[in-house]
């Protein structure tokens, strides 16, 4: 049987921004594809253009060179097949958990009773059954991110795009939420693209990891993660896991160092400017 073609194709993306110091190339000729059901992580140091790439793929910014296509269709602006989970806390504070999760269904015009029923399923899927009537202000940061994830899943996207969704959480919560993501991915066979700077998270969750260079962001290496599935956070204590973490860190270290030096030089220039 012929293997299914990629569901997401990113071809030669170049994105430049105008800054007071001149044009800045955030990402430069980035190309990759994602197969149906695959979990791909994009990892790189701060300033490598990860979030820019997230916004380009999600259709939130334009004015770039190259092409993004979903199932053969070129993405021009936000696309129904792409569901986005943001780094920043993004639940609607004026809506309860169930109302937040039912939001995309409400926009799609699904009748109230049906959308509540379907939203309830996704609330349970992220492990928040019993919290349906709570407001985001009554939940922890990790629970709020799960609400955001459930809301995106409720729109039943073909591809789930996540931009460092657990960046603001502590390491233990992050590992446990990683378990939850693995469980959801297993259950829904959800194609997922995760943007992260956390090596552990990337190895724990992914089938492949795309390592990016520091500014301008380019693809440095693609690492296939050959760890058994289904996985849990227990995998982090295995030798193979440690091997992958070390391998990726050796790729990232040089880039992260470059990023730090650049930030220090920038800071010195700022201080020197009267």
């Amino acid at each position: 049987m012929k293997p299914a073609g990629p569901i997401l194709v990113v071809e030669d993306i170049v994105k430049r921004f105008d800054t007071p110091d001149g044009a800045l190339t955030a990402i430069d000729r980035v190309s990759f594809d994602v197969a149906p059901g695959e979990f791909l992580a994009v990892i790189g140091p701060s300033g490598c253009g990860k979030s820019t790439l997230f916004n380009v793929i999600g259709g939130l910014i334009d004015g770039y060179q190259g092409r993004v296509s979903v199932a053969g269709e070129t993405v021009r602006g936000p696309h129904a097949a792409l569901g986005m989970v943001f780094q920043e806390e993004s639940t609607f504070p004026w809506r309860t958990v169930i109302e937040n999760v039912a939001f995309p269904l409400e926009i799609a015009g699904v009748a109230k009773a049906e959308r509540i029923e379907r939203a309830r399923h996704f609330v349970a899927l992220v492990g928040l059954a019993g919290f349906e009537r709570r407001y985001p202000a009554e939940l922890s940061g990790g629970m709020r991110q799960r609400v955001s994830m459930a809301r995106t899943l409720a729109s039943e996207p073909k591809i789930l795009l996540m931009d460092e969704p657990f960046a603001a959480l502590d390491e233990q919560t992050r590992l446990l939420l990683g378990d939850k993501v693995l469980q959801i991915q297993q259950e829904l066979k959800q194609t997922t693209l995760l943007i992260t700077h956390n090596i552990t998270e990337a190895v724990q969750l992914s089938d492949r990891i795309l390592v990016m260079t520091y500014r301008p962001g380019r693809v440095k290496r693609v690492v296939s993660i050959d760890l058994p599935r289904p996985r849990t956070s227990e995998i982090v204590s295995s030798d193979a896991f440690g091997h992958y973490v070390a391998q990726i860190w050796s790729d990232l270290r040089e880039e992260a160092t470059r990023g730090m030096q650049d930030a220090e030089a920038h800071s010195r220039r700022e201080r020197a400017t009267p």
Binding site: G58, G59, L60, G77, P78, H79, A80, L82, G83, M84, F86, E88, E89, S90, F92, P93, W94, R95, T96, F103, P104, I107, Y135, P136, A137, S155
Partner: protein, 256 residues
């Protein structure tokens, strides 16, 4: 046990507020009786309390209360609709906002009540004059707080809307409007205070209409306890507005 503690925590603020008010009144009573405050300028609180029955019975307070409250409410409805509308317009069109925002802010601090002769010429010696002066004087805070609320909507919430392909109208009604509601309500509350002050002020100045006219008449008669009692009814109008706006806000945004 938890329920009792929650009830106590809920009741503590209003009880503390009322106790403070009662203590302040008792203190004023003591200071007046001790001759530290001139009783010909500030009457005894007990005299004010005793004058309530007389003022209600003889001065048609209920009718005047309803007239002043009605004028302020009409101004409030107008300034809510027009103020929020203008705020949205200025938020939506950046050039318009840059051109007008400073003028609106300047208008907020202008003593518009002094323009009452102009309003009298335009609208006549009628309730419409009070409504219009209350409306115009109270418009700037509603406009400014609406712009502030809309502009302060977190970028990520707007991006969530964009990622779900919301139309412009959906983006406004489902995200921008609810996100800006708390700020809008601050503007509306400020606006209602401005409107009430201007309505009562003009009633007082032109000796026409509701509670402002009553305060004027009682002061002219040198009925100080009655004057203060009438002022208490103006405060009551304000309290009613605050209670109603608070209730509407909780209804629109139960999470807050």
């Amino acid at each position: 046990m938890n329920g009792a503690r929650r009830l106590a925590a809920k009741l503590a603020p209003p009880v503390l507020g009322l106790t403070t008010l009662v203590l302040a009144i008792i203190l004023i009573q003591i200071l007046i009786e001790a001759g530290r405050i001139n009783r010909f300028v500030v009457p005894l609180p007990t005299q004010i309390a005793a004058s309530f029955g007389r003022v209600i019975a003889e001065e048609n307070v209920l009718g005047r209360f309803l007239l002043t409250a009605g004028e302020a409410l009409a101004a409030g409805v107008l300034l809510t609709v027009v103020g929020i509308g203008l705020g949205v317009l200025l938020y939506r069109f950046r050039l318009l906002r840059l051109a007008c925002e400073t003028w609106v802010a300047a208008l907020a601090s202008a003593p518009l009540v002094l323009m009452y002769p102009l309003f009298l010429v335009i609208f006549g010696r009628s309730a419409l004059t009070m409504v219009m002066i209350g409306f115009v004087a109270a418009l700037p805070p509603v406009i400014l707080k609406t712009i502030e609320g809309l502009a302060g909507t977190r970028r990520v919430l707007i991006d969530v809307g964009r990622s779900f392909k919301l139309t412009q109208a959906q983006q406004f009604w489902k995200i921008l409007f609810p996100a800006a509601l708390p700020s809008m309500f601050v503007g509306i509350r400020l606006g209602l205070i401005f409107a009430l002050i201007n309505v009562v002020g003009v009633e007082f100045l032109i000796n026409f209409g509701g509670l402002g006219q009553l305060i004027n008449e009682l002061a002219e008669r040198y009925d100080l306890p009655g004057t203060y009692a009438a002022i208490c009814f103006v405060v009551l109008v304000s309290v009613c507005f605050f209670a109603v706006t608070g209730w509407i806000e909780r209804w629109l945004r139960p999470a807050d």
